[in-house]
Subunit: 517 residues, 2 copies
């Protein structure tokens, strides 16, 4: 039957160049990374003085860099030089402490270190076997964060004894992915419930969210095949501070049932993007229960605040929802991308998302004692996603994380107080977290149109200075400025400077004096 | 109207602690990253000697690390210590040069550096305005790679003059995402074409792929709402080396049309996961044209090889398809995740994926002269995805990248030659790239069952040694071993050692001698 010595295929069968290109030569890796760390150090030291919004024109980069890929290798310094000279000047600096637009993309030394190590290890943990440590680290990080958020036990995956609970979690890239996987699970459950022949029943399924819900929800519904005509946007107004009114939700859902439709999924938001409105989670869950509809809580931004006891009440009733997602990359100092999704019954997800190709079969998966994270996400491949989130919690602890949230909220409150004491402005909706929605209000004979024009002029003028970047929204028909505190390099002095700049610009606009600052 | 001096809201309105926790303190960042670089250096130097597959039991990590999140902060060294002592021993080391399973996750110094810098800048380039440099860098990187692949001009986004061409690209996380966004665009186009009332017509839409197509395609179809009964898996066999037979495809599609169904989408694979079969792209496109169906080419793994002229023929006909995706994280030395998608008509994607919430409105987007990458992907948020891919091409150039592909292929060929000269083995399908599918063949009175048992025993015994990790598949009903060359630290000596180990294990199995090596 052959032996080691008699076998004709000896090692001499091999020939060729054992040298050559070594893409992961450890000395090169160290050298390139040290240069990168120097760049990052300089960047953090100097980003404050760079224009937050760059003044570049569309197509600028292709005019600076060669349009064809090089054929020969070049020293790494060339790429770094082009990065410094061509890329950095065209960046919108989300890391700038003068960035107050959208929501901040928060970050920390521990998170960057975790992501760096994950990139270098470069594992693909689709199944437990493909990387036990990465899988278990992700489960551990999610269980830790669930504890910080005081999520009910039903969402915790890792029970004592090592087996699966009914609940479970997964780290995804964005909230949109969390919405899609839960929408699909809810869709399939509803189709089964109504005895649909294949997907024929999909035309009867309806989904719901407040009109303040992130636009990506409506997109996710369309991606999952829901009929655009069956995606309900429930109107909100100032009487509920733009949160959904459960009575209105009930009315809309009941009307659908009355016409033979099947309420399938409701998205409640804790901290809307536009104005940080908070849908009443428990009341929404109670309404949904009557219809057997899936309730998902999107707490992408404000979920992070709920690690502080004083904000936890915004999640009241979460024990009655089916799933919740939040994004530590938004406010828990974990660089992009990192969205955590927890579901109360993991099997409802895996039932819709499981695949089992031959080449991924293994004893551990067959045993049913392990979690294969591929079955809780859109794709198969996945980075070592849990490491940076675990490193953030391990290094900073609950105390530092809470301190960070509170510091941002305090700075936002100070800004809000300043706005309130200036008669030219108004705070448009109550501030819940670290976002202040304000505007120059119509005063001294200004019409609503004058006010809108002034606010646009203020925003554009401010952003053109490069010294601050704020964004806008429309709430209740009003053009409103959004001032989001929380960029990770931000200190009180940056908030002060921005406010001074806003006052100065406003004075210029009010006096008709357009001299730039 | 107020003036700077008379305004009641002065900077004195602010108060509070300006000190406190600084998550991005530049000195901390440098210190944490230097420690991480040291770790990575040591890891690359030592990973070769670590067991590729760890011998841990499910739940091992929760027995080593605390189950509750710490409340107090801890020195970063604590996290690093736990990483070394608890995480590393439970890793499946994809970076090990002794890793031959699945497809390798290739990597390089330039890629890790690019990802590190992107993590530190931490920008969210959903629109051009939200980060002009990141958007234009991604477009540039995609255009460069399209040139390396000699994709037709119709896929190139950045024409001279800075405007959009009809084609376009985007970097996504995984092939699954590329499939979903194109499936949805094709689905919506087909629904419009048949005059469907909302999504009612979805039950008539059919999609196609060879039975060797990655399981994630079938999952993506279900996510996008296609009826499971309308997802056609076209059988393949040894007569086409497990590539799809265009005649069979035509037959299946025509049969569907004859029963009133609407062929909507076909996925052709260049380099299947199981055995690296190559569907004939041009012939598939010709069949699809008759039905107005969308053709997507999934070249996740083998696309990288097509930067070499001698492999480019595998993409022949690509000018007639609608979209193509490939993943530089698989074989172009760009760490996870990085999947490039090109479409011939970007508007067909954005038509299904565009959102336009008030807070993202801006003059640049309104002008129509810029690309907003959020409209070509599942979600809204996105990392600075183009940087690492550009750094890889900028630093290594086409020459080094081609050298790397050729070196892997040469090593695979050497392995294949060795297998062929050993009478106990057979190569099961022709080797196209750097994957060898082989097995102990029935010989010396062995039945097919004996052979399957011997191959399983060989794989499991080999993997248990920790000195190599190979995976398996089933092709044409046979249990087959997959030997994938290409891990970025791999050199010829690792391939030699693995082959020696395979021979030794096989000899033991054949002689009934189970002494471990």
């Amino acid at each position: 039957m052959g032996s080691l010595d008699s076998n004709p295929a000896s090692i001499d069968a091999f020939a060729g160049d054992a040298e050559g290109f070594q893409p992961l030569n450890a000395d090169d890796v160290r050298s390139y990374l040290h240069k990168s760390v120097d760049f990052i150090y300089d960047y953090y030291k100097s980003v404050e003085s760079m224009p937050v919004l760059p003044g570049v024109e569309p197509g600028y980069l292709s005019r600076l860099l060669q349009s064809a890929p090089p054929s020969a290798a070049a020293p790494f310094d060339i790429a770094m030089k082009e990065l410094r000279e061509a890329v950095v000047p065209g960046m919108t600096h989300w890391a700038s402490p003068n960035f107050f637009a959208f929501f901040p993309a928060t970050n920390s030394a521990a998170a960057i270190a975790g992501e760096l190590i994950a990139s270098a290890m470069n594992t693909v943990g689709f199944t437990w076997q493909a990387n036990p440590a990465a899988t278990e680290m992700e489960v551990l990080a999610l269980d830790w964060l669930a504890q910080l958020l005081r999520l009910p036990d039903s969402f915790i995956m890792n029970r004592t004894g090592g087996g699966r609970g009914t609940g479970g979690g997964v780290i995804l890239g964005t909230t949109s992915e969390a919405m899609i996987v839960t929408l699909v699970a809810a869709r399939d459950a509803a189709l089964r419930r109504i005895g649909s022949d294949g997907v024929a029943g999909i035309t009867r399924l309806t989904v719901y969210a407040a009109d303040q819900t992130h636009s990506t929800f409506f997109k996710a519904c369309r991606l999952a095949g829901f009929d655009p005509a069956n995606i309900r946007s429930v109107p909100t107004g100032p009487e509920t501070d733009f949160a959904v009114d459960p009575a209105k939700l009930l009315e809309v859902m009941q009307a659908d049932v009355d016409t033979g439709l099947v309420p399938t999924y409701i998205c409640a938001t804790v901290g809307t993007t536009s104005s940080n409105a908070v849908d009443p989670v428990g009341a929404v869950a109670d309404v949904a229960a009557a219809f057997n509809a899936w309730v998902h809580v999107d707490a992408a931004y404000a979920g992070s605040a709920c690690i502080c006891p004083e904000f936890r009440h915004h999640l009241a009733g979460v024990e009655r929802v089916d799933s919740i997602s939040m994004s530590p990359h938004k406010w828990l100092m974990t660089c992009l991308d990192c969205t955590c999704l927890w579901v109360r019954d993991a099997h409802r997800l895996t039932g819709s998302l499981e695949t089992n190709p031959e080449y991924l079969k293994n004893d551990a998966s067959d045993s049913g004692t392990v979690t294969d994270l591929k079955d809780m996400q859109v794709g198969v491949g996945r980075r070592f996603r849990g490491l940076k989130l675990w490193m953030v919690m391990r290094t900073y602890g609950a105390a530092r994380l809470q301190e960070h949230i509170r510091s941002d909220v305090a700075m936002a409150k100070m800004f809000e107080d300043a706005v309130r004491t200036d008669g030219r402005f108004e705070v448009v909706v109550p501030r819940n977290f670290a976002l202040v929605c304000f505007r120059i209000k119509p005063h001294g004979g200004m019409t609503e149109e004058d006010a809108e024009r002034a606010n646009r002029e203020l925003m554009e003028g401010l952003n053109r200075t490069g010294k601050a970047y704020i964004a806008h929204t429309v709430i209740g028909g009003k053009f409103v400025l959004r001032f989001a505190v929380g960029s990770s390099l931000q200190e009180e002095r940056h908030v002060r400077s921005a406010w001074e700049l806003i006052r100065k610009k406003t004075a210029e606009i009010m006096s008709g004096d357009k001299v730039s600052v």
